[in-house]
């Protein structure tokens, strides 16, 4: 189907918009949390590499918001900055703070958590993007093909960190296992499509929740086998489901921080 919102079946359009908000908000919040590591990563080259990946992901979010704009959902920048927490459709995994403290004062962030979150998120993004390349909504499949090009690098980066830390010292292994538990506890809504599940799946916008979950598991199994670990099970019922607007306090704090400058003068021209 083409991108002319006026000619589109209203139900189809509603499903596309619903899915796009989930995809856009995921990458937006994920890259915002990633950007909070600037200057703090445990190694200077890791710092630059993580920042580049965060910029790439922010670019992906911008592409999704642009598709929403083309469908008449609102201006892309406004959609990114000004929607309050209950309107957000990102997984709660992407909104979680990086650890204790704040970026501006005494950040005691958890690198193991950053690696674990990025690893599992990127693996989930990989199966979603692969599936989106076949989407019935043409503009979406086109951007997915583009994003897939950069995802090879993101995946190699996080696969490497994940593997190295889990096959390092006992202390590193312990920290990673604690971090994996935190990440998986929040993973219940990653593959959820919220209230529009039925429509999103039957219109063929993306593969079913079950298909994607199975693909994710299949992709990460070899690495876990090589580390002699079991693939952690995704919880059946999410603690909170971001896809239906249920969020943690971390999201509100994050949104007020990320929109602080543009909210200070909303008429300014950038």
């Amino acid at each position: 189907m083409n991108s002319d919102g006026n000619l589109m079946d209203p139900e189809y359009k509603e499903a596309v918009i619903s899915l796009l908000f989930q995809l856009a908000d995921d990458d937006f919040l994920y890259s915002f949390r990633g950007s909070e590591w600037l200057g703090l990563a445990p190694h200077i080259e890791a710092d630059i590499a993580f920042s580049s990946i965060s910029q790439d992901s922010m670019g992906h979010a911008a592409m999704y918001y642009k598709l929403l704009e083309e469908l008449g959902a609102g201006n892309a920048d406004d959609l990114a900055h000004y929607r309050p927490a209950p309107e957000r459709r990102n997984s709660i995994l992407t909104e979680r703070v990086n650890g204790q403290g704040y970026y501006m004062e005494t950040p005691h962030f958890d690198w193991a958590y950053a690696v674990a979150r990025s690893y599992f998120y990127t693996q989930a993004k990989k199966v979603r993007i692969d599936s989106l390349c076949e989407s019935t909504y043409k503009p979406l499949s086109e951007v997915a093909v583009k994003m897939r090009m950069e995802l090879y690098y993101h995946k190699l980066h996080w696969d490497t960190w994940f593997k190295q830390l889990l096959s390092s010292t006992d202390e590193a292994k312990k920290k990673m296992e604690d971090a994996i538990k935190l990440v998986i506890d929040d993973f219940g809504d990653v593959f959820s499509y919220g209230k529009q599940k039925q429509q999103i799946e039957s219109f063929g916008l993306i593969g079913s929740e079950e298909e994607l979950k199975a693909g994710w598991k299949e992709n990460i199994e070899p690495l876990f086998a090589s580390l002699q670990l079991k693939v952690p099970a995704i919880p059946d019922h999410p603690v909170k489901n971001g896809r239906i607007g249920e969020h943690t306090r971390d999201l509100e704090e994050g949104l007020s921080t990320l929109s602080e400058v543009c909210s200070a003068d909303i008429t300014a021209v950038w």
Binding site: Q55, M149, E150
Partner: protein, 115 residues
Amino acid sequence: MGEENTFYQEYEIFSKRTPNSAFQHQFSLLAPNEDMALIMAQENFMRREPVADIWIVNRKHLKRMNADEKRTLVRLENKEYRTTKGYGYLKKKWRQYEQEMLDEKEILSWGGERK
């Protein structure tokens, strides 16, 4: 590949022209070991150019990218902000603000407060 059975090995040769310049890859050659590689590199390829230092690296010690890893090198064309050309519009903006700064109204508003 059966490289253990091969007398000759492949070496990559790097050199720099002056003590302060950067090493540059020059060429590769076959030699039975690195000492032989060094003298061959020096005798055969650096007779005319000034050389301050030479590095010899056995090719099997290089981490090289496989086809799959090369796929990680692709970038999308949406990163003008990483290059100076992404900020080309700033010049125009500066000019605009400088002009505004020195207009009549601005100059008159200085009156009295300046000596």
